[in-house]
Symmetry: C3
Subunit: 298 residues, 3 copies
């Protein structure tokens, strides 16, 4: 993938994914000695981020390189009315690759058309978030394996770019995907269409209870308050699509509970101390996976 | 102290303090060659800071390491409702130690209970600020010595975490402490109780003039405007507990004037050019002292 | 220039300029091996900046050093009422040189009087921006040569510090300068006076068309909306002092169009794909030029 752009999870073949995950496993031990001491990674975050930004920064620094951080939009020339196309054309002269988070869907793809250095999409509105998908796949492979997998994906399936990218990527493997959400937040038709076209084994549910006992992995996502005009309606939905410790009595002993974080109320903190909880490890996997990706691009 | 948390100045023994100050003296010359090239220091500042944050950053970089800066709260996942416990559990996977400033008293201690990497308290509301104390002690030792010391501590003694930590730490040494403040900003009873329990020689005053001639060190702190409902009352108090050049005629020739900075009006800039002014050196000592502390933790 | 302050373009002799530009040409290839691995550059940006800040950061990192970034004013002690003189005296203890952008004219000069490390002016209100001038000169030398040069400078000539510094610096070379602006935004009398004193060949115009065919370089600047009380008046002026592709039919084939960026509407994006467009290269030249400057100061 040297010098490629990374725009969507759709662009990854099974071989691409496995190569990155294998390399990440090397970097997951502190013995990885590949050095990119001359590399500067441009960070362009037009929206708040903690874990994506900090794990990219940790990844390039652990590879011996460094970052150039545009900083918050308020402290940049964007406040003077500069276009995204101009901003990325300037910064490509300073950095060896660009990591872009932007509220507008398609922003990373547009940016990639204006520059020669690799652009890595770190989230474009309701669009894509392919590096999150890579670390999700890495975590699934560590805990349950990617083949012969039964996974439940629960919460906001309509707007969640994380979910769309993960579901798409899992079609490269022998996985059965159960989607659990209120009807108002079900998978968009175009995503469902893509999954069907890829021949994926997919079922949709409005309740978790019936399918929970079969699952190897339960991937929970946050339901955003701002999707609901009414606070009471939000509370009802949020509590119906959260999990607590007692519900896990019906699950397999080795069920992995995942979450892209940040969580609000979807996962009871009492689950944190159980072997089911893999969401913090999942977040930590962002570093070796992004090291592997950067190592393949730079 | 390897792999310890640093939460309050109370945790330091005299031996701990002297070990760090001796090591800091090594780092105060540009010959310190201890290298932590693989270390990443996580910076989590939930409140504004210039000197604490920048001197931690300078310290780890001069040791050969680097930082991972969470950035301002506005640009992080905290805006999405993430708890502090979750934030630190995520970032401990990226960094080798965490430096935390937080408006809430007890925040660092709470954080330390959730993570395995060292947590360094860089100020928790009206609570503690132990690394400020170490650099204050280093500066006192350089200028007046820590034994047979007569120190005046003036200003906001009620809310000033810097003052509480320093007073506590000085009980490890043979120091006489004179506290000078308006009655409304006097030492809190629990701090006074701790000092008495430790057998410290302590006197409280409402005016500086009577005690000034005896002092080896005068430690001035900022009185915050927001403590006073009335602007006129604030002005009266602020000017009564500031110093100017003429007042220093009654002081010892080698009196050191210290201040944790930033200052507003408490110290007349005309004092900056005298030998009494040690507050800028004091701020600069933050780098070697924090180098020594990090070197002992990492 | 070792250990000098860099405050205005006026301080550069022709020999100074040529020495920096020659060194920059060395750094413009990835072979520059001068290393400043122990250098920390303090970044104090009291106003938004993308390209100046990021290219200074890229420059010191490509030299093997690192930065200490004060961050935005909101997250620093400035919010507690600290004076600029105090802030720079503290930070000089952490860093080996300071880069300062400040809204107040004269801020860098004032700061330089309080510290011993070099202060580099990265823009002081309507005052100076000498490192922008160095990269402008580098770009002009690359594209048209600095001697026997005919240059047009268009847009906001009254408030533009970039223009004032460049015009001044060009008096060191055999250049004819044509200034094009509405009367309300013409060169200030004191700048015009300085140019005349230096014996510069200067002409002022209110329209571009008459002089365009003679130009080797056309340097366009942004007209700021906030200079005009009336939106319609702004639009009229902005469109009269912008350029589009058709206008360039009257220009020399090898005319270089320059702009300090960010642009808003002054240069039609259709020009980006022509050989006239040198503004992105110009921005990129900020890295080798600032590497050369830092290498000469540190």
């Amino acid at each position: 993938m040297r010098h490629d752009h990374v725009l969507t999870a759709k662009q990854f073949s099974r071989a691409d994914i496995e190569a990155v995950l294998d390399r990440a496993a090397d970097f997951d031990r502190p013995t990885g000695d590949t050095r990119h001491t001359d590399s500067l990674l441009g960070l362009l975050f037009f929206e708040p981020s903690t874990r994506t930004k900090m794990s990219f920064e940790a990844a390039i620094k652990r590879l011996g390189g460094d970052v150039l951080d545009m900083g918050s939009v308020d402290s940049s020339s964007v406040t003077k009315g500069e276009s995204l196309a101009d901003t990325v054309r300037v910064i490509e002269g300073y950095a060896d690759a660009l990591v872009l988070r932007h509220p507008q869907q398609g922003a990373a793809k547009m940016a990639s058309e204006f520059v020669d250095v690799p652009v890595i999409n770190a989230g474009d509105g309701a669009g894509h978030h392919p590096t999150q998908t890579l670390l999700d796949l890495y975590s699934i492979r560590e805990n349950a394996g990617l083949d012969d997998l039964t996974i439940g994906i629960m919460g906001d399936l309509k707007y969640g770019r994380t979910v769309h990218s993960l579901a798409q990527a899992l079609t490269n493997f022998d996985a059965t995907q159960h989607f659990v959400s209120p009807e108002s937040l079900a998978l968009p038709p175009e995503v469902r269409y893509d999954l069907d076209e890829a021949g994926a084994a997919v079922e949709e549910h409005t309740e978790l209870a019936g399918v929970l006992p079969e699952l190897d992995v339960l991937y929970v996502t946050r339901i955003q308050r701002e999707r609901f005009p009414d606070e009471n309606e939000y509370r009802a939905v949020a509590s119906a699509y959260g999990i607590d410790r007692s519900m896990l009595e019906d699950a397999k002993d080795d069920l992995s509970v995942m979450h892209p974080l940040p969580r609000v109320d979807e996962i009871d903190p009492a689950i944190d101390d159980t072997d089911h909880a893999t969401y913090f490890d999942q977040a930590h996997n962002g570093v070796p996976v992004r090291m592997a990706l950067l190592d393949s691009l730079l």
